[in-house]
Every structure is written in C-alpha cells, then in structure tokens.
Symmetry: C2
Subunit: 476 residues, 2 copies
C-alpha cells in the first residue's frame, strides 16, 4: 500500500525522459487533452504557476512595469511588417480563417508572441519624449505549432508573461534588457533555488528580430540545458519597420528603442528536472503550494486529530495541509514524497504524550524530533535551510558538470561521454555552430557574462582565431 | 487649461452611448486595435481587472475552488457532443484551419467557453464517488465572433473566469450554482458598490445546454440592464452527452451533475455606467487602483513636495499617488475627476502653515479641511463612507426606476417613456417573450428570487393565467 503511488515511476538513471513524464502525470501537474500538443494544467501544476506569477509580477512592478492585455489575434499583414520576425514565426503559427459562419477577408494568426501588436499600439501612443518610456507587460497564453511536444517544455499552447518596453535611447533599452534578465536570475535563485548562467546568445540563437538576446541557462539533472528566460534588445529595428517616431526635446523626430522579455510555464519543467528525485517531485519551499503536510498517526485515537489541528494553527505563517483522509500513514508518506511537499510532520498518541512531533524533510529525508511549542520557529529555520541546501546541491551539480575543451577531439569526446556543459572557444562564425550541432547535437548556450577566461587561442571547431568563450550543451 | 481633459466628453443626458465610449477612451481604459472587435486593455483598465480578479479569486478559494488551465482550442467533434450547446455557440466561433504550413485534418474552434473541455477532462478523472466533487475554475480569454462590438460590453475576445464543477447529486450541484451566484452578488455589493437583482432566467434566455441559469442583473444610469454574472446548473445533461459516469457507494454507475459560472471584463462596463458622471469615471474605493491622489499646490515653494511626501507616508494603508508633474493644479483636478480616483488631497504653503490639508471626494465633490496628523483615520472613514454612499445612490436609482404594469398598454407605455425595469406577470410561454421583444425591444431579465408579489392574475401579454412575476428591461 505504502508503495502504491511510486511503484510505477521509471528510475531517473534508467530513462530520464520517461522519469520526467511519469512525474508530471503522477504528481498530477498536467494531463493530456483531446487537442494534440496542448496540455491541461491541473490544480497542483497551476498552483505552482500562480506562485511564480505572483512573485514575478511583484518584482516586475517594483521596477515600474504596468500590466496590459493585447488581442489574441494578429492580422497577417501586421505580422509581416518586420522581416526577420515573420520569417522566424510564420512557419509555426496557427491561422484563423473563419469567423462565425463566414470566411475572413484577412487571415489572423493566433499570437506566437506580441511584438507586432505592441508596435501597433506604440505607433498610436508614442509621439513625444513625454510619452517615454512605456514599461508594459502581459500575462497570457501563446501558440506555436510545434511538431514534437513535451509537458511544460514544449507545447503548442503555453502560458507566459511577455514584457514589452519602449525607450528614448539605446542605452536605456539596453539597461532595461539587462535589468529584466537579472530579475529572472535573482528570481530563479531566491524563489526556485535554481542557479542559472547569464549570458548573451550568438546570432544564430537570437530571437527573430532582436539585436541582442540575453538568456539564463539552467542545468537539468541529466546535464542538459534548459533556456529558462530570455530578454531581447530590439534596437530601433521594430520602430523603423512600424514607423514609430517621437519628437525629442530637440524638436526633431527620432525612432525609439524597444525590448521584450519573457518567462513561461517551461520554468516548471526546470523545477522538476533540477530538484526531482526517484521518489517524485521535490519542491523548493517558496514556490510549493503546500509547504508542510501534517500526517496524524493512529488518527482514530482520542486527541490525535485535535493535536494535528492545533499544530496547523501554530503554523499559520506557512501553507499547511492536514491529511486526515482514511489512507494509511505509509500511503500518505509516499504521497508527500511524490507531490514534493518540502516537509511533513507526523504526530501520534506517543508524540502527543511527549509534547513532541516528528518532522521529515523531503529533500534529504532527514528526521527531527521537535517540541510542539517550538514548531513554528523550527519550521521557519528548516524551510530556509531546505531552500539553501537545494540551491547549493544544484550549484554543485552545475559546477561538477562543466568541462573545458581545448581541441575538437576532446570536445566531441566529452560531449559524447559526459552529461553537462563544455566551455570552449569559438571564432564567431555560424558555420562552426552548425558543424558542432551536426557532429554532437550540442548548441551554443551562451557567451557568459561572468566568465571571460581564455581556454585556447583558436576556435574549437575551425582553428581560426577565437573571438568568444562559449558554453556549449545539449538542450531541451 | 483646467477643462482641457473633459471638454470633449459628450454629456450623459445628450447621448449616453457616446458618453460611455468617450469615458473608456479618455480615461485610457481601452484602445481599439488592428483586429476588428478586439480591444487593447490599457494599464488603467487592466489594473481594475487585476483588483477584480484578486478579490473574486480569494472569495472563490474560500469556497474550496481550485484553479486550472485548459486548452485554448476545441476540436469540432468535441464541441458537437452536446446538441443545445453546439447550436448556441457554433454560429459565433472563430475557426483555426491551418497549423504551421499545413491544413489541419480537423478544424479547431477558439474556445467561446470551455464546458466541452472540462467534460473531456472529467470523463478521464471521475470514476468513483471519491473523485467528487471537483470545483475547478480558470481565468482566461474567450472568443465569440460578435457582429457589433462595444468596449468591455461586447467584444470578440474578452477576459473572464469560468468555474466548472462536478457533483454526485443534483442537489449538491444546485447548491453550488446558487452559492456562486451569491458570491457574485456579494462581490458586486461589497467591492463594486453595485446593487444587483438575483433571479432565474426564462428558458429562452438560458445558457445553451443549461437546465437552469441564474443571473445577477444591474441597472445602468440610463435604465438599461446589464447581465453582470451568471451561474448555470447543467443537471446531468453534459455528463450523459459525454459519457461521464462514476461508481457510487452503492457500487452502481451514475451520471454526475455539473455547473458552470462566470464573470467577465463586462463588469468594468457596469462600474462605468452605474457610477460615472459627466466629468468622467467615478471608481468605488475598493476596486480603484489609485484611491487617493495628492496634488501639491505651488509645488515649487519650499517644503511643499516634502509635505506631500510625508502625507503619502502617513497614508501607507491606501493606494496613493503624488502628482508632482509640471501640469497646473487645475489640470490635475480635472484629471483626477476624469480618471475617477475616489479622493484627492490638496496641500499648499498655507495648508502646511496651518497643519492642514484639503480633501475633495470624487463622487459628491464635497470638500473637507483635515488636520495633517488625523489624515489616515479620516481617509479610512471617508473611503468607507464613499463606498456606502455610492451603493445607496445606485440602489435608490434602481428602486426609483422600477415600475409595475398590470395591462399590456401600460407595459408598452412605460417601456416607451421611462428608462428602467418593469415588473409584470407572465404565462411562461416563449411566444409572449418574443412578442414583447418585438413590440418594445425589452427582454425578460429574470424571475426574481426575492420578489414574489402578484401584480395581476394574467399574463401581461396574452391574458392567459400568469405563472411568474418577471422583471423586464432593455439590456446591453
């Protein structure tokens, strides 16, 4: 009985992809729907997204961001205004061709992203330097007609936020672009206990229409990269394509500068694959919808449920649930492990007699005997400790799975044999990126902000003079 | 200068429809987009929706509701499973026929509402009485291909929440249906200062596929009705159409019972049309994104901006903004009136000398001189008073615009001459509803819960024996 919930989870070491889909299904985060490639986000999954949304939204607003809502549809002619952008997105959008009983005169795409719609708005609203900057964001769903899909990681519809800002100068746009990347990196560290690498994308990996794309890259348990948030500086390219102009203090017309930045439900995939283990989810305490589950032992005995209720009252600063269902304690323990609640508290007749309870943390399974009247202080410290330990373990994994390569043979050998990222020099040409991808399936993840070492003088691939240190990896 | 912002607002008495569109545009709540019939919700409008969402979501969760997210698309075959439902919605949906570069094998509609998707989920997830009830809700956008559109009131895409619950018994479903209608009515009263009439829809006005539809109806300034929230009991009709069955404690298979209920961005239209006046928006304090605006007078004089800042600090329990832009005070006053901030505080050199400030409420324009060290207590009481007064004024308007009719001539005369609702008896036949609509453009708003008086023995229209007292009105 105790094992029932977990007996069907594939071992992580055996088949990581299968382990992942087992977890999302059995922890009831998502379900498949009748619409191929679209997912149903169930209560346990959506509660994670609500916590992510609340915290990110708070951090955005602290930097002066305002929320808006733009239409779901983009007319074909509007999508086509910026050349690189339409080339990047047109092949993967869904098209509405009929409204009500009549065919449309112009087909509409379901937004894959909303740069073009924001440009259309800014063209109407931005005329003077007094109208700048505008720091807008929206929470919405977008659609990209992907061929192969995986829960949270790649689906035809997903939830996200997309920030879109417009500024008088390039420097101000650049500052906003980097600021939002840092908001994402700090959020991942402080709230999700996920270390990320911040860096710049190569031209090949840039967003369609961007001048610069910055990224945070996280490393999953299997050594693969997950691009977890991106921030784009568009320069004045979109403004020129859409004819957005403003009169500056000098009384002359100028094109303004734009940015966009986004984080999606994909980040839930990162939580699962960075922290999860063979028994199920392991949720970082700050994002966990239930932080503590109280499991009464011999709950039919007098006083047990009352004591569990009192414990809950004492823990009013936390998100706590009492599991008083008629399942066995063993079943409840394995359910807590599967669902990844950061800690459980066991309380039975003997504990009550001793004025104690037993606390078990999810991440390490360590047990503590705690006096009932000290439980709130204890849990406050414990949840902080769990967060920090989870972050440190993830960071250690990242550091230990990072290799240097100075020759192409070495590079290919590591990529072939060891999961993780490889640090190697690159000449700056897309041909080398293409060849590396063909040879190893690895892609350039980023040119890191914080790591400027020189590993060799020449490009790992072609041998020409090196321009950049790049982190390479296989990616989701 | 002072009049600049408001000079172009059409007078309410002159042309109510034009007054309405002037307000939504000039208070910067929405903007039109390149997509016909779809609106852009701008920061001032979206902040209203965020406050509505936060408060409703809290009230839902108190009743045990959990949030989920369902796909944006519904395959044609799924939409067609429930006969009445597809008849009601198919003529007004948008169809996706192409995904990426290829035509779809089955066309997908953009959800106009999600009953069919929830049934598809419940069919997979509900097997035993242990799986019941499920009380799910989602916040999302839906699309209905309307021919004529108006900001907030009727648009091709709008934001809403749709609750979908499933229960073991009819009675439990009925209890949930009424419970959510009451949540809506209480929310309108407590949070938006809008009185509503709760009642049951006639068969003609019911939701497509529902056994019973309950509604809250609000009365706008012009005497027209706005259906502001609905709650539907589906009985087991959808469960039968979708083959949803569960094993009860008696070990036999049964069809479960379902409900759905929704409130949309339409409710923002009600806020405007119930409370607004000829100077602009009048926002109820609880939903107002800015509750108090502080306007410094002679702000360049020493100490004025500091005093405004101190006032803001003293009012930390409220949503406060200091308007220190370089506009004139007169301009700022008229902007506060246009945007509907519930109160403004004026503070200048003489006020500071006297240790005072001037408070002006938006709804009545009444002025108060208040000691600076009493401002927080004063504003707390004043905002409560504004809320209560706004509610009472709206209620008085509703009561004074409600007429009784005992004969059809009387009915037509009132409908023709007086804005408002008419109470009149009805036989229960749709033919009479159709004739009344043809003769007067009025529709049956509801069979009220709380008003069981008998005005006459016979139907106002056909003279046959009367079955119900009905509230009739012209509606948005």
């Amino acid at each position: 009985m105790a094992e029932k919930l977990v007996e069907n989870i594939t071992a992580m070491e055996e088949d990581f992809a299968k382990w992942y889909t087992d977890i999302v299904k059995k922890a009831e985060l998502i379900d498949y729907s009748s619409v191929k490639g679209c997912m149903i986000i169930k209560p346990a999954g959506y509660a994670l997204w609500e916590n992510i949304q609340r915290e990110l939204d708070r951090r955005f607003k602290e930097t002066g961001v305002e929320n808006v809502y733009m239409p779901l549809f983009i007319p074909e002619s509007l999508l086509q205004k910026e050349k690189d952008h339409v080339e990047g997105f047109a092949p993967e959008v869904a098209w509405v061709t009929q409204g009500g009983l009549e065919p449309l005169t112009e087909k509409l795409c379901v937004r894959p992203t909303s740069e073009t719609l924001f440009c259309d708005l800014y063209k109407n609203d931005v005329h003077s330097y007094r109208d700048l900057p505008k720091n807008y964001n929206q929470w919405c769903s977008v659609v990209r007609w992907e061929k192969t899909t995986r829960p949270f990681l790649r689906s035809r519809e997903f939830l996200w936020q997309e920030g879109h800002t417009i500024h008088a100068t390039y420097d101000e746009a650049e500052e906003r672009t980097v600021m939002m990347l840092n908001v994402y990196a700090d959020f991942c560290k402080d709230f999700l206990a996920i270390p990320t690498i911040r860096g710049r994308k190569t031209d090949k990996e840039k967003f369609a229409g961007a001048e610069e794309t910055y990224t945070i890259e996280a490393m999953m348990h299997d050594g693969k990269a997950l691009q977890s948030g991106t921030s784009h500086n568009f320069g004045d390219g979109f403004a020129k394509a859409f004819g957005i102009e403003y009169t500056d203090k000098d009384n002359k017309l100028h094109h303004p500068f734009q940015t966009s930045w986004g984080v999606s439900t994909r980040i839930i995939g990162a939580i699962i694959m960075v922290h999860g283990d063979s028994e199920g989810l392991v949720l970082p305490p700050k994002v966990a919808p239930t932080q503590i589950v109280i499991i009464p032992i011999q709950q039919k005995k007098e006083g047990v449920l009352e004591a569990a209720g009192k414990l809950k009252d004492a823990l009013k600063d936390f998100r706590v649930k009492v599991d008083d269902s008629d399942r066995s304690p063993g079943y409840k323990f394995s359910e807590q492990e599967m669902r990844g609640f950061p800690a459980r508290i066991e309380i039975g007749p003997r504990d009550i007699e001793n004025g104690e309870c037993v606390v078990v943390r999810r991440d390490t399974r360590q047990k503590y005997t705690v006096k009932l009247d000290e439980i709130s202080d204890f849990m406050k410290k414990l949840l902080e400790e769990i967060h920090n330990d989870m972050y440190e373990r993830a960071k250690k994994h990242l550091q230990e799975s990072m290799y240097d390569a100075a020759t192409y043979d070495e590079f290919k050998k590591i990529m072939n044999e060891k999961p993780g990222f490889v640090r190697a020099m690159w000449c700056g040409n897309v041909e080398c990126e293409d060849r590396i991808k063909a040879d190893t399936t690895a892609t350039s993840r980023c040119i890191p902000f914080e790591d400027r070492d020189e590993i060799s003088k020449t490009c790992i691939c072609c041998g020409k003079p090196a321009k950049h240190l790049v982190y390479w990896g296989k990616a989701y």
